[in-house]
C-alpha cells in the first residue's frame, strides 16, 4: 500500500472564544487522527458541534493545528466553496475570475474555463451583468459552476451535494457525483446516512472533537447509532 495522501495524528485545534485580553480558548478539535489514501472517499459523521467543519478546514490547510501533527503528500486540496469572494457590483464574468483566483487557479486557467462556466451556469446574457441583479438561484448556479472548475486532487465537501432549483439541483448533483466517482480523493461531511453510504467507501466518526472510530461505512454507522439511538437516520 502506498503512503497516505494526508495523515493526521492526535490533532487539536483551539479557537479564541472572544477578542478580549485573556479570553479563554476552546478546543474545536481535541484529538483527531485519520489517514486518507489516494482515491479513497472518506465520510465524516458526528453530531452538530463535533468539529466536522473544523476538520475539513484543517485538511484544506486553512487552519493549522495547535497540537498534534498533520502530514500531507504534495497534493492540491480544496474545500468545495461556493461564491467565494463574490462582489455584488461586479459582473458574473468578473466574479468568476476573482473567485477562481481566490480558489487557487491561475488567471489564464480561469480565462480558458470561462466559456464552460458560462455554459454550465445557464446565465446567458446575465453573465455580463452585475450579480446584484441575480436571483438566489442564479447566484447559486454561478457559484457552483465556478467551484466545479477547480479540480483539486483532494476534494473536501461540507454537506452540499447539489445546489439551486429542482432542475439545476439534478444537473449539479450529477456533475459533482461524476467528479466524486471519477477517481478523486474525497472527504465528505454529512448528517445523512444515505448520502454517506452512497458516496463513501470508508467512514470516520468524530464526537466532541475526538475521532472515535474509523473504518467500513456500515460498521461505523452501526456503532454511531448504537451509541446514540435517538439520532434519526436521514
Amino acid at each position: 500500500m502506498t503512503a497516505p495522501v494526508i495523515a493526521m495524528e492526535n490533532v487539536g485545534i483551539a479557537f479564541n472564544a472572544q477578542v478580549r485580553i485573556g479570553a479563554p480558548r476552546f478546543w474545536a478539535l481535541e484529538d483527531v487522527s485519520l489517514t486518507l489514501n489516494r482515491g479513497e472517499r472518506l465520510g465524516v459523521i458526528g453530531r452538530n458541534g463535533a468539529g466536522k467543519s473544523t476538520l475539513l478546514r484543517t485538511l484544506a490547510g486553512i487552519i493549522e493545528p495547535d497540537r498534534g501533527r498533520i502530514t500531507r503528500a504534495p497534493v492540491t486540496c480544496q474545500l468545495l466553496s461556493l461564491a467565494v469572494g463574490f462582489m455584488l457590483h461586479l459582473s458574473g464574468r468578473d466574479n468568476a475570475v476573482l473567485s477562481g483566483l481566490l480558489l487557487g487557479l491561475r488567471r489564464r486557467e480561469i480565462e480558458k474555463r470561462l466559456p464552460a462556466i458560462h455554459e454550465f451556469s445557464e446565465l446567458g446574457d446575465f453573465f455580463e451583468q452585475p450579480i446584484s441583479t441575480y436571483s438566489t438561484g442564479m447566484l447559486a448556479r454561478l457559484g457552483f459552476s465556478v467551484a466545479m472548475q477547480v479540480e483539486p486532487e483532494v476534494l473536501l465537501i461540507d454537506e452540499v451535494l447539489s445546489v439551486g432549483d429542482a432542475d439545476f439541483a439534478k444537473k449539479s448533483g450529477a456533475a459533482l457525483r461524476a467528479r466524486i466517482h471519477g477517481g478523486t480523493t474525497v472527504v465528505f461531511v454529512s448528517h445523512s446516512d444515505a448520502q454517506i453510504r452512497e458516496v463513501c467507501d470508508r467512514a470516520l466518526w468524530i464526537e466532541h472533537g475526538r475521532s472515535v472510530m474509523q473504518g467500513d461505512v456500515d460498521d461505523v454507522l452501526r456503532a454511531y447509532h448504537a451509541r446514540a439511538p435517538q439520532t434519526a437516520a436521514a
Binding site: I13, A14, F15, N16, A17, Q18, V19, R57, A60, G61, I62, I63, E64, L79, S81, V84, G85, M87, L88, H89, L90, D94, V97, L98, L101, L102, L103, G104, R106, R107, P130
Partner: protein, 253 residues
Amino acid sequence: MRLHYLELILFSTYAELRAERARSYLGVLWWIIEPAMNMAVYYLVFAIVLKTSQPDYIPFLLIGLTLWQWFKSCVSHGGYAIWQSLPLVRQVKVPVQVFPSVQVLADTVKFVFILALLLLILWGYGYAPNWAYLALVPVLLVELVFAAAIAYLFAAALPFLPDLRFVIEQVLQVTMFMSGVVFALDVVPVAWRGVFMLNPIAVLIDAGRGILMHGLWPNWSALGVVALISLALYAFASGLIAHLTPRYVKLPA
C-alpha cells in the same frame, strides 16, 4: 505560486475600483471630486478665513494635501483590510497580505488621477515642469513603501484589537498636523523642528514641494534615511503579518 498571488492582487484591485465606480451615480468622477472638495475646505479655512499670509500658499497647500491624502487613504483603507476579510480568510487558504496590498494599490491608482489634476493646476499657476520632476519617482516610491508599511502594521493588529478603529483616525489627524500639510514647518518653534522632520511624511511633502514649486532636487540624505526607515518598516510589517497569519483564522466570527 508568487505569480499567482500577483495576479490575485492585480485583479482584486481592478475589481475593487470597478465595484467602487459602480456603487455611485457619478462613478469615477468622485475620485477627483472628493479630494477636490476636501482641498476646497482647507483652502476656505486656512487661506480665506484664517488669512494665512504665506506666499504661494495655494500650491503649497494643494501639494501637501495631495501627498497627504494618498498616504491617509492607504492607511485607513489598508488598515481595515484584513479585519474586513476575515470571513474570506476562514473560507480559503490565501496569504492575508493580499488584502491590505489591494487597498493600497487601489488608492494609488486614484492618487495618479489626483496627481495629474494637481500638475495641471500648478502649470496653470505658472509653476512650469522642470528637470527636478525626475526626482518625483523616488519620492513617490518611498511614500508608497512607507504608506504600505503603516497600512500593513494597522492591518496586522486590527483583527486582534478591533478597538484600534477608534484610534486610527485620531492618529492620522495628529500626524497630518505634524507633517506640515497645512502650515509650513517654519512656523514651528526651532526646538521642535528637528522632531517634526523625523516624520517621514513631512520629509516627503517637503521634497515634493521643492520639486514642484521651486525645481529643487530633494535633500538626498534625508530622503535616503526615510527610504531606509520605510523599507525596514515594510519588511517588519510583512513579517508580522506572515507570523500572525495562522492566528487570524482562529479569531471568533
